[in-house]
Amino acid sequence: MTLDSATFNIISNGLHSVAQEMGEMLVRSAHSTIIREARDCSTSFLDRNGGIIAQAQFCPIHMNSFGMVFQEFARRYDLSTLRPGEALITNDPYSGAQHLNDILIFSPVFYQDRLVAYSASLGHHIDVGGGAAGPNACAADIFAEGLRIPPLRFDVERDFGAGMLEQFIRFNVRAPEQVIGDLYAQLAANRTGALRFVEMLERFGEEDVLEAGAAIQDYSERLTRDAIRSIPDGRYEAEDFVDNNGFDQAPLRVHVAVIVDGDEIEVDFKGSAEQTKGIINCPLASTVAAVYGALAVVLGGGDIPVNTGLYRPIRTVTVPYGSFLNPSKPLGVRARNNACHRVYNAIMRALSVVAPDRVLTSGHDTTNAIGMGHLGHDRYRVYMEVVGGGWGASLGCDGADVVDGYVGNCSNVPVESLEQDYPFLRIEEYGLRRGSAGVGKYRGGLGVRRVYKVLDDEVSFNCYSDRFQIPPWGLFGGEDGAASRFLVQRDGKEITLPSKTNFSLKQGDRLIIETAGGGGYGDPLNRDPALVTRELDLGLITADQALQHRNSRNN
């Protein structure tokens, strides 16, 4: 490395702030609650070959998707002919993207008339058409999930506004003001990124900035290799399951073999379930992103900058084509996060044998995507929120209560904001789900209980979730957490809902969402008795759970 250490530090911090500022810009100028309040979006800065230099850490599952989508664009177009004012857009899961709601836009960055980099953003859009306002749980294929935007090269001025692309999208989504507003927010974020990057080039010189960009990747690679070396060589296997595909009751297996070999790792998903009908298939990009995300937690624990360098020591990720982790066109993929979470869980379980201090028990580990649609007199209102649950426990730390699963980090929507924007709903209860955590020396996090009162007819409830059948597991003697469940109370009766469903709500209904608690870590008998007493007094754990901590002590 020819850069001196001060310059390297200064430029790499500068690049990181570029991605961060893009992300803040996106959130601040977005229109939908899902981006502006829940922050379901990400930004990234790529070198001219598509290597990721810096990204804003909003949702881990979005992270490496930028790289895979970029490769698809590079395959289709001669990117060297891109002109200022052009951009690239897609949401196609079969072209490296995630699911249709996630629209990616890449803007080329020019410096002295040459293309030097790309600023890119991904927004989860509140609606992309399709068979339901929100997840279409009974979609037979991707066409029923919504508008599929192929990898397109377009000219912003010509094709947005009155242009073909904006109009085409506008006519095919239920909440056009929000979707189009958010697309503009993405373009604004990209523009900010480009501006800041060019300023850096002017300040530090192109050569130094690009060299620092490469050096950050080497830096992450070095740290990752060190971490892998500290794990004994060997083949470690484990499995976990997605509850079902929403049509029948058969669990879908995720089987992983993690092969540690010196300072490199191979990951193999042979033995995982076949692709299936419904929306729970997971496109290859998402499966690979989940592998990277899981290893970033185990190997880095938040200390390694997440960029292309972190991925390099991962020699191969083998995912059999035709399995539900690498489905063939045109299967539905909307709920791919369920499978992604099981990829995380299986890797954690596999490595728990050799790295017990660096893994987590299973948390609720599900994207509880709660969607509702209401066609009022004036317009469609589409509500979408990711409801959190209990986080996994680890050596030395109880699981956090009520957070999003691994692959995201969506915040909740303030109840006061939700009720203003969606007058057909009122929240009657939003609290910790008491007794839901798996006991252990360190307990899992508590899930959440939320009760929606429905104030109008013709409200469709569209959701996907998981961990209804197979609860979050504990490790080393820790117990399982409680499974999730969704109910509707109507006319004094209770209707139990499946984890993936479209259901018509009526005025007066109470929709009850109870999400899973995390699994416990270590023998419950070793838990600090003072904590047990306090949590029992507060009602956070049940009397039965308290007994599990105390039994042998009294015997």
Binding site: A6, N409, V448
Partner: protein, 676 residues
């Protein structure tokens, strides 16, 4: 008649006083963290001696509130919330601080679950009553809470109270009637804006701090009683308010220290004719940066203390972890880092000779010769150059750098961190730093300012008098000021102008009544009118200063145009939209303070410049450098870099290519020489 300002910091309590005849004096005493009021009271007595009875007003800035939150030393407060929402302080916004970390810990709430009770009531998003308040049940639950937990303050936060406060008011009245001695804090008066977690967090913090802040201020007031001096307290919004009755609004004292420095800079800039400036306040652990346009700093609607949101009007100050004590270290991946860990006052940088072994920025500056060990803190503390060099060489070895090379690298990284802070408040908000003067103060600001200015393309720097006591000076010149807010969502249409006028009229009436209590006549109050607006559908607002005269004469089109212009600067061009809406009405009321005290800071023309030639290391070269004592430099004296200007509380570095002059008020004005 003496006016005295006291700024309590973690290590030192700074005092500046002035009297009617233009005498001015300063004093510094060690802080007394176990009971900060002791240092304040003793400091006043020491500073003014037998003239104590002349003290008429005392202006105080304190970290007592901030520290109480960080160290969780506030009171046993209780919280009353709407039925069904007892856990909102634990759920928060559902976010994980780091998405790749194994351990996930949310910020610890200030009130634990056993002291949170639910109130049977509900108000809808439109302000209508969904469920009537059940007072009978509330009485019983309150009684149980009192017996069980003996809370020392009560916070009340009910859903949608920013739209209809009737239930909150009724609950507060009930609590007050049953328990008249308990401080009661109501969310709709503390922060009448939507987003229940943020509002609850703010209300809770106010209740949590109320008794402690009240006691603290009473102790000081009692000590001042015999001489009849009045106590004023600095607010995060940058103004002072009389201490009497401030207890329940102790939350407004949070983050007030950095605000005072910004206020001082604003006043000095007015005298020097700088309209656009960026303040740079660097101390031991961090740098505070603030952008000032049109003579006033920006005010932000919310801030965060220890991870907990506080919705209080706060001067928009960015904080970066770069100070004199910031430590240089090599991370696991082999990258040189500076900060955010700081050597603090104990053990301090290696050169303090108190056992510190890791090199801090101050060590680097000592090694490079920019700080002379014998003149540091006016000679009250002799630094150990050898210890600095030793610490630097150990670090240098791991990077194959010499101790001087690693020292320059540490200074460069610290400077870049400072520049990043400046970019944050300028470039990222749509302002060009090149058009601003950089006002540098704090112990370390004047040392780093020119280097950061080089980086940012800034060509004018001002180092005001008393840079190391500048926050205290800010207290002397701060206005009595309060920010009044009201939230009422409204899409802009033909009738909006009338609503805006009547909202401001309401706020003005409230301000006039409150200022009357402070002894301020209506004619002496200056108002500023601000709207927080957004495009329909957006979640974040942009602040728009408005002129009520124009609102009346031009109507709603004026509001829309003003908003669009401001939005384009700070956020960028907006898409096609469904119109604009007003979210919050904000009124700033102030009684301007006489700032003539600044005139007395001018040095005497009789001063005879005292300079000593020496050497410094700069950009890899040994250079000749003149070392001046600031208090010997007369008005209009000018010099060129490389030079260092020393004074007891700070040191100014003038690099090659820069000139410096003693200007108005005795401020050092640094100018980049053309063509360099």
């Amino acid at each position: 008649m003496i006016k005295i300002a006291i700024e309590s910091g973690g290590t030192f309590t700074d005092l500046i006083w002035s009297d009617k005849s233009g005498n001015i004096g300063s004093h510094k005493v060690p802080s007394t963290p176990d009971d900060p009021s002791r240092a304040v009271i003793n400091g006043i007595r020491e500073a003014v001696g037998e003239r104590f009875s002349d003290v008429k007003s005392v202006l105080h800035g304190s970290t007592v509130a901030t520290n109480a939150v960080i160290e969780r030393r506030g009171c046993r407060a209780a919280l009353l919330v709407t039925q069904g929402f007892r856990d909102l302080l634990l759920i928060q916004r559902q976010l994980r601080p780091n998405v790749y970390a194994i351990e996930c810990r949310k910020p610890e709430p200030l009130i634990s679950l056993e002291r949170i009770i639910e109130v049977s009531e509900r108000i809808g998003a439109d302000g209508s009553i969904v469920t009537h308040l059940d007072e009978g049940r509330l009485k019983a639950d309150l009684q149980d809470l009192m017996e069980r937990e003996k809370p020392e303050a009560i916070a009340i936060c009910l859903l949608h109270s920013y739209r209809n406060a009737d239930h909150e008011t009724a609950v507060a009245e009930l609590v007050r009637s049953l328990y008249p001695d308990l401080p009661v804090v109501v969310s709709s008066s503390v922060l009448p804006t939507f987003r229940e977690y943020e509002r609850a967090s703010t209300t809770v913090m106010a209740a949590y701090l109320a008794p402690l802040v009240g006691r603290y201020l009473k102790t000081i007031e009692k000590a001042l009683d015999p001489v009849g001096a009045r106590l004023f307290v600095m607010q995060s919004s940058g103004g002072v308010l009389p201490a009497a009755g401030l207890g329940e609004r102790g939350v407004e004292m949070l983050n007030s220290g950095p605000a005072a420095g910004v206020i001082a800079a604003t006043s000095v800039a007015q005298r020097l004719g700088d309209e656009k400036l960026i303040t740079l306040d660097i101390g031991g652990t961090s740098a505070d940066v603030c952008l000032i346009t049109q003579g006033a700093p920006g005010v932000r609607a919310e801030t965060e203390i220890d991870g907990l949101p506080v919705g209080m009007p706060t001067i928009d100050i960015a904080n970066v972890g770069a100070g004199g004590g910031s430590i240089g270290w090599v991370d696991k991946g082999g990258m040189l880092q500076v900060g955010p860990q700081s050597a603090g006052a104990q053990p301090g940088p290696a050169c303090y000779g108190r056992g510190g072994t890791q090199p801090a920025v101050t060590d680097a500056l000592v090694a490079l010769g920019w700080i002379r060990p014998e003149t540091f803190l006016g000679g009250r503390m002799t630094l150990q150059t050898k210890a600095a060099h030793e610490a630097l060489s150990i670090l240098g070895d791991s990077l194959s750098l010499s101790d001087n090379e690693v020292a320059e690298a540490i200074v460069a990284i610290a400077t870049a961190n400072v520049s990043r802070g400046v970019r944050l408040v300028s470039v990222q908000r749509g302002h060009d730093p090149k058009q601003h003067a950089l006002y540098a103060f704090g112990g370390m600001g004047p040392m780093i300012a020119a280097l950061a200015a080089e980086d940012l393309g800034i060509s004018r720097i001002v180092v005001p008098p008393h840079p190391g006591l500048f926050s205290a000076l800010g207290l002397l010149v701060a206005d009595i000021k309060r920010v009044y807010r009201e939230t009422a969502l409204r899409v802009v249409d033909e009738q909006t102008a009338d609503h805006v006028s009547s909202a401001f009229a309401r706020l003005e009436a409230a301000a006039i009544a409150e200022f009357q209590d402070y002894g301020v006549a209506q004619k002496d109050i200056k108002f500023e009118w601000v709207l927080e607006m957004r495009y329909v559908g957006q979640g974040f607002e942009t602040q728009i200063p408005v002129d009520p005269g124009l609102v009346r004469s031009k109507g709603s089109s004026y509001l829309t145009a003003a908003f669009q212009e401001a939005h384009a600067v700070t956020v960028g061009q907006a898409p096609s939209h469904n119109g604009t809406e007003i979210v919050t009405y904000q009124l700033v009321a102030r009684q301007p303070t006489n700032t003539d005290v600044l005139e007395h800071l001018e040095p005497s023309p009789e001063c005879i410049p005292e300079g000593h030639p020496g050497h410094v290391q700069y950009r890899g070269e040994q250079r000749d450098c003149m070392f001046y004592r600031r208090d010997t430099l007369p008005p209009e004296f000018s010099l060129t870099g490389c030079a260092v200007i020393e004074e007891p509380t700070s040191t100014t570095f003038v690099p090659p290519g820069w000139g410096a002059k003693i200007g108005t008020l005795g401020a050092i004005e640094l100018t980049k020489e053309a063509g360099r």
